[in-house]
């Protein structure tokens, strides 16, 4: 009986493969072709219409006012956000410091604050956000389909992702892969790690960076790899490994969770660039500009010394650039008209979440609620860091 069924099924499968093989080619060729043809058809219709219009115009003899050409999709996101009354953000819910749940179950974090800043700027209310929890693997698809208005989820900006996923706005956090070691291990440089055992999460760029940097330095090592991140750190703490490696922010978060964090140090070596950047779906340049401008505003605010506490009194500052940025009446337009925002939208964002430095210190500063991490590259350019945003004017 089972043998008969087996033959029956194998024959059925074989037949369906044949059917697919015969049928697939035509569908495969027609599908892209129809897509290519469809676009020009619409365009030709438009061309015919414009011809008719110009004829009418020449009859009347009056010149048309110049019109700003806006591509399809321009302004759609802002309209949708205002209609829904909320900004939809793809976020992390379990990464300490960046996107996590506090003891009251609220989704907070460094990344979430940028979503709140955009909501405050656009809608005037930092709580008008819908935080959609997404996994690392979801980040590309939700951008490609436009399911969310922006993704702020600990995402490294790479050329491939920029080309394939969406528009990356502005770097909010300069991270890099580092090493966590025991203080008494005597390891201080990469060379000291020759022959060491290294704990690492499997299937990440981290694993590849590790292999490359050790190979380039001509060092040997033994990698103990785990599927899930907590296992990496428990194996490290037990002493299975001499070194744990990951992004420095993750190492700092893990270290903060150890029983004795002071016994472990993060070495001042960085072996990769991980610029963490919020991204928006492609196709709406206005929304792209809005998110970028809000981030610039927060960085500029720190430069000018504008904080969530003093934003009101800064509106009467003698510096006209500051007054303009905060949207004081009678000052220059910093671009809000074209972006469809109110003049004081950046002021609202700053008073809602604070300037860039305030956001950083809230989670990673000396009294940070998540863990302590030296600002390093994330300092303002004026303090030797890389945080440098175009002027708001």
């Amino acid at each position: 009986m089972s043998r008969k069924l087996f033959y029956l099924f194998s024959i059925l499968i074989a037949i369906s493969f044949l059917a697919v093989a015969c049928g697939a080619k035509p569908t495969a060729t027609t599908a892209p072709a129809s897509g290519e043809v469809a676009a020009p058809v619409i365009e030709t219709v438009e061309v015919i219409k414009t011809v008719i219009v110009t004829q009418e115009v020449t009859v009347q003899g009056t010149p048309l006012p110049p019109e700003v050409l806006k591509p399809k999709g321009y302004g759609e996101t802002l309209a949708a956000v205002q209609a829904n009354g909320k900004v939809v953000c793809g976020v992390h819910t379990s990464l300490l410091g960046f996107g996590y749940l506090d003891e009251n179950g609220r989704n907070i974090g460094f990344d979430i604050d940028f979503c709140r800043a955009v909501a405050a700027a656009v809608l005037g209310d930092p709580d008008a956000i819908e935080a959609v929890p997404i996994t690392a693997a979801d980040r590309g698809p939700v951008l490609q389909t436009g399911e969310v208005n922006m993704v702020t989820r600990n995402m490294t900006w790479t050329s491939k992702r920029d080309a394939e996923w969406g528009n990356f706005t502005w770097i909010t956090f300069y991270d890099g892969q580092g090493f966590l070691v025991r203080k008494d291990s005597g390891i201080a440089t990469l060379q000291d790690m020759d022959g060491a055992t290294v704990c690492v999460t499997t299937g990440t760029t981290t694993e590849k960076n590790l292999a490359t940097s050790f190979a380039d330095a001509g060092l040997t090592y033994e990698a103990v790899t785990f599927e899930d991140t907590p296992s990496v750190y428990s194996a490290y703490v037990e002493g299975r490994c001499d070194v744990a490696t990951s992004d420095k922010s993750q190492l700092a978060a893990a270290r903060a969770g150890f029983a004795t964090p002071e016994d472990h140090i993060i070495l001042p070596i960085t072996i990769s660039k991980e610029p963490l950047t919020p991204a928006v779906p492609t196709g709406d340049d206005q929304w792209f500009d809005i998110v970028k401008t809000v981030i610039w505003g927060l960085v500029n605010a720190e430069e000018y010394g504008i904080t969530s506490a003093n934003v009101e009194e800064m509106k009467s500052n003698e510096n006209s650039d500051i007054r303009a940025m905060l949207g004081v009446e009678g000052e220059a337009d910093w671009g809000y008209t074209a972006l469809g925002l109110s003049p004081d939208s950046l002021a609202k964002a700053i008073s809602a979440v604070g300037n860039y430095g305030e956001i950083y210190d809230r989670y990673f500063g000396a009294n940070g609620i998540a863990f302590q991490l030296d600002r390093g590259l994330n300092n303002l350019w004026t303090n030797g860091g890389l945080m440098y945003a175009p002027p708001i004017k």
Binding site: G203, E227, R240
Partner: protein
């Protein structure tokens, strides 16, 4: 008397059982073919649309990730295909070792369970129930994080100096290694084993046929010792060296090393499966009719003779089919290794998916490989099964 009036010769086509059956068969096969056509066609269309055809060219690209333990030379500059091969060998090694340990342990526990001694029988029962009622994943975590990584650190290894060192990085044993010019000895060793087997079976057959004592045991043992001994002297007296583990830097070097991950997986898998094998052994032995044992006793056989000559040969016939499925389970369960950092086929397959971004081809490859391993195992054991079954006359 039957008349044509009530029983017309020709049954209408819609009530003809044969026709109805054929139609039902055709309809159901069309549904199955249609479903498969849809699934496979959809898959092919999507992969073409995304530019990810079902090809295996990527297996030649450089893998870029490290693998801790490999029985063939591997480094991160080698290809994905090589990495998958390393994984396959690791799976085969841990499965083979696991099957061996589980069988020995399973027979022991199964016999304990049948013991007339109350304490021994209860110990067997507790062992079986403990392992049968806890998920393997939990047991693996317990062995790895609860036992093996809690072993002493490298510098405080449990040691029998010069022979064995045990620490949380693994078990390091002093192990013989072939010296230069040792190939002759190795060849003679293999030849000795083969010759001994041939001698044993030929002489035994002669005794069975002629009924004359041939001392097959002693003669073959002599062959087993003498042939390698000749090889030992022929190769110049020192064909083997002892490889002693030595602490160098962070870790021990040299000797035979069983890593923590391998040992934890092996012990976890073998003990878990041995509980099931113990039950198979018990059922096999209990299936032997009581009369057989009583008869053996009446003839005057000792208990060990009853066991080896009467019980085991008959019990084997019952035990082999369920044993096959336990062996297959063990092999498939070895894929749980990825949670405790032993890099076998599935773990390396998952890394390959992540690094090469080709989920479907890799999954097909993994599935086909496991299928091949399982089919091969069951073919070999089925052949053995046929040989030990009753030849009914």
């Amino acid at each position: 008397m039957v008349t044509d009036e009530y029983f017309p010769k020709k049954i209408p086509i819609w009530r003809d059982e044969r026709v109805l059956k054929a139609v039902a068969q055709i309809i159901s096969s069309l549904i199955v073919i249609g479903f498969l056509y849809w699934v496979i066609g959809n898959f092919i269309a999507i992969t073409q649309q995304r530019g990810m055809p079902l090809t295996y060219g990527f297996l030649k690209e450089a893998a870029g990730f490290p693998i801790k333990e490999s029985f063939i030379p591997y480094d991160s500059t080698m290809s994905f295909g090589r990495a998958v091969l390393v994984g396959l060998i690791n799976t085969l090694v841990v499965s083979a070792a696991g099957i061996l340990v589980a069988t020995v342990l399973g027979f022991l526990i199964g016999l304990m369970r049948l013991s007339s001694n109350w304490l021994i029988s209860r110990i067997g029962l507790a062992y079986i129930e403990f392992h049968r009622n806890i998920p393997l994943l939990v047991l693996l975590f317990l062995w790895y994080f609860g036992v093996f990584t809690k072993l002493p650190a490298v510098k405080e290894s449990i040691a029998v100096p010069g022979f064995i060192y045990i620490n949380q990085r693994g078990f390091y044993l002093t192990w013989p290694r072939l010296a230069e010019g040792g190939t002759l000895f190795a060849a003679s060793l293999v030849a000795g084993i083969l010759l001994a087997i041939v001698t044993w079976s030929v002489l035994r057959r002669i005794r069975e046929v002629k009924g004359k004592e041939t001392y097959f045991g002693r003669v073959s043992l002599a062959v087993l010792i003498l042939v390698p001994l000749v090889g030992w002297f022929a190769s110049g007296g020192r064909p083997m060296l002892l490889d002693v583990p030595i602490l160098k830097g962070f870790n021990f070097q040299g000797g035979l090393r069983l890593t923590t991950e391998f040992t934890a997986l092996l012990i976890g898998l073998a003990m878990y499966t041995s509980a099931f094998i113990a039950e198979v052994v018990r059922s096999g032995i209990q299936a032997v009719q009581k009369g057989q044992i009583e008869a053996a006793r009446a003839v005057g056989l000792r208990y060990s003779q009853i066991l080896s000559l009467i019980i085991i040969p008959q019990a084997m016939r019952v035990m082999i089919p369920p044993l096959i499925s336990q062996y297959l389970n063990l092999t498939k369960n070895s894929s749980l290794a990825l949670v405790i950092g032993y890099q076998e086929l599935f773990a390396i397959g998952k890394v390959t998916i992540n690094q090469a971004g080709r989920a479907v081809p890799v999954f097909i490859l993994i599935m086909a490989t496991y299928l091949a391993i399982s089919l091969l195992t069951s073919i070999i054991l089925n052949i053995y099964n046929k040989r030990v079954q009753f030849i009914e006359r």
